[in-house]
Each structure stands twice: as C-alpha cells, then as structure tokens.
Symmetry: C2
Subunit: 211 residues, 2 copies
DNA sequence: CGAGCGCTTGACCGGCGTCAACACCCGTGG
DNA sequence: CCACGGGTGTTGACGCCGGTCAAGCGCTCG
C-alpha cells in the first residue's frame, strides 16, 4: 500500500487499530465537508472527486484523486474533512485510522517522510489544477484535462467524466465542454473509444499540449 | 514566531543552525521555481505572491501569502521549490534552514503538530483560491478578492494589487479588473482610500459577498 | 515641467453562456 | 421482442460578458 510500502517489521508491529478495506459504488459519498473524521483514505482503484461548496452555494470540483492518492489528509491536522469526497467510478479504498498515522508519524521516520511527500504532492496537485486547468480558453482547459487524465500505464488512452462534472472542474458550462470535445475529435486530436463519451484515445499529444 | 511559538527550552536548545532574518524590496524574487532550497520562509510583514509558469509559458498567480503564512513548505519534502515567490510589497521574512525543521519535526511533537497544521492550512488555502476566487463572474471574483484581502485587524479595510497581478490571480484581463473595481466603487460597496488604487474601505460586506 | 508608467474608460468584437431541440443509449414494462 | 421514457450527450441560434485595441488621464519621479 502507498503509505506503508517501505515500513519495516518493527513499524508494522505498532499498528494496533484495524485498517479497513472499503468499496464504494459510483456516486456514493465517502465523506462530507466538515464531517468529523475516523481516518484518512488511500485510493486503490477508481477515481473520486473533491467537491467544495462556495459561500454562495455553487459547487466546485477542486481535484480528482486516482490510485495512489490520499483523500482527507487534512483530518490529520484538524480531525475534520475540508472538502466533500464523492466516487466518480466504483472505487476501492483503505481507511487508515488517525490514531495509527499519528502514532507512526512520530515513531517511524519512514512513514513521517512518506506523509510529508503526500502533503507536498497534494499541494502541488492543487496548484496544478489552478494553474494548468483553470486558465486560458475552453479549448485549452478541455485539452489539458484530457492530458492530465491519461491512463498512467497506457498514455495513449484517457478517461473523461460526465460533462457537467467536467464543467465544475474547468469552470465551463456542460454545453461548452461538449462542443470542445467534439472539436478535438473533429480535428483528430482525440478519438472516442466507447459510446458513453468517457474513454478517448489520445491521437496527438503535442497538439493537445499547444492547442 | 509562527512556527516556534510553543516550543519549550529543550526544543530550542536543539536549534544549532542560524535562522536568518531577511528583508526584501517590493518586486524582488525570494526564490524561483525549481530552485534548490536552503530553507523555508515565514512571512513576518508584507505580502508575497506564488507564481506558476504554465507549460505554454503564461504566468499564473496561485496564491498570496500574508504574515503568519509559510512559503516554500514543499522544500521540506523535495528540497526544491515548486513555485516562484515574489514580494508584492516590502516584506520581512525568516528563513529557517531545512536541517532545523527536519530535526525538530522528529524530535519535538509540538513543532511536528505545528507543521502539520501549516500543511493543512496551505492546502485549504489553495482550494479556497480555486473554489472561491476562480469561479463565477468577473464581478464576483473581484469582490471575493477584496473580501479575502481584508486587513485581519481592520476588517473594514482591504488591500488590492496592481491590476495585471489581480488579473493573473483571478484569470481576468487588467481592463476587466479595473472596470469591476470602478463598478464596485460606483455602487457603494468599496471606497478608495488612496490615489494609487491599492487601499479600499469595505462599505458593504454583505453585498460584496452576494454580488 | 515633461516623460513614463499604471489606471481608467470607450468602442467594438469574439468566445462562451443560455435556451431549446434533437439524438442516442439503456432500462423497463407490456 | 419491441415500444416507450428518462437521462445524458450533442448541436444550433442568439445574446451578453469579458477580451481586444486604443485613447486619455493622473500620479510619480526625474
């Protein structure tokens, strides 16, 4: 597992609380904004979205987490979740109790380092979403999202989302998202791989980058 | 100081490397993206902007840090800075060597907790900028920034920035920013307090929120 | 007092939002 | 097995917000 990959036997012997393996169906809520937290989640399979409600009631997707990412890190500091977390697909996750992480982060330098890297990655990812995906024309944003969501071990394939979710990620209306995807397909940068509009083949990575 | 506020004498005795007090003029660069890091900065006075260059060369301001915030936390995990940091005003900062933080974060539970809170706050702040300030109409964004940048101990006053900087923060052009500020002044939500267009009085907090 | 820079304002235009119709997929029930 | 209905994606027409280009103003600093 992501966090515990390089722990030794002594580290493991200090884990007393149970680490739950959980599965969620698409669209189910892993936790809500402000909810008090039992533990932190590692994503093993599938994708989840982190959703913020703005002070005037609109909903905004701030990030998408994929296998290897941690959800709810903020609970380590505050014991509460700062954002809502919703499954975009079927997902399987591990829930690691806060007590385990608190104990190990002070008693295992290896986990301490791991955790710090996770914080750093989460912060960089947040800045990436702001700087890369919420800047520029609609075309650039959709192209950027398609590139970011490429399958890590099949970089010529990518997975998109429901059009209104993509709108909430990119600050666009769903019709605009749809139009831009159609345009990218028409121009030969993407090719649909299913009839549901989720999986696409990346035909021209470079032109996607510089759209 | 922010990070060391609740350390005890034993903790302090473990600090061997010097902690530098530094001052920077407005517009000077504290560090650049990718640069290898000597330490982490705490902002004592003034403001700095964190700037990201997108892969196609445009510049984007991802956040503004104010007194009490930490700049360059990511260096704790990677020894490199992920974003460029530039002074928006005259600033005074402390540079805390990485070695000090690495040592204390494993030997002082108090600092360890502090650091975690700083990570959490930075991540929440990043999400705030995305969810609150880069969503909705130009009017809403400018109003949101004016509210966010209120003086902590004089909430009826706020500090804005050069119009092109505000544009890079809100994903707007400087002309649009200028127009929206003028409109907010005309409508009696803000009032200029100087001739440089930086300090404004917040006349109607509620209407700014719900613009 | 003049040059230069940043802010404001105006006129015009284009990209994205809005509203609406339609196509397509899929599950349901007859 | 097919007819139907709802949900989601696509496409079109049109209008408006914000971008573009340009002129003018006011402050600051030689």
């Amino acid at each position: 597992m992501v966090l515990f990959a390089d722990l030794n036997e002594q580290d493991f012997s200090q884990i007393h609380s149970p680490i739950d393996d959980l599965a969620f169906a698409s669209d189910s809520v892993l936790y809500t904004e402000g909810e008090s937290a039992l533990g932190v989640y590692t994503v093993r399979k599938g994708m989840v979205k982190l959703v913020r409600s703005t002070s005037d009631g609109r909903e905004r997707i701030v990030r998408v987490l994929r296998p290897g990412d941690l959800a709810g890190l903020e609970a380590l500091a505050t014991s509460r979740f700062d954002t809502e977390c919703i499954a975009l697909t079927e997902v399987s996750v591990c829930r690691i109790p806060l007590s385990v992480l608190h104990h190990l982060s002070t008693h295992s330098p290896r986990l301490h380092l791991r955790l710090m890297q996770k914080w750093q990655h989460a912060l960089k990812d947040a800045d990436d979403w702001l700087a890369e995906l919420n800047f520029g024309t609609a075309r650039q944003r959709v192209a950027g999202l398609a590139l970011k969501m490429r399958d890590p071990d099949h970089p010529t394939q990518t997975t998109l989302f429901a059009r209104d979710d993509m709108g909430a990620m990119l600050d666009l209306k769903l019709e605009t998202v749809s139009r831009e995807i159609s345009a990218l397909v028409r121009d030969g940068l993407l090719k649909p791989m299913d009839k549901s509009g989720r999986r696409y083949a990346v035909l021209d990575e470079n032109r996607l980058q510089w759209v």
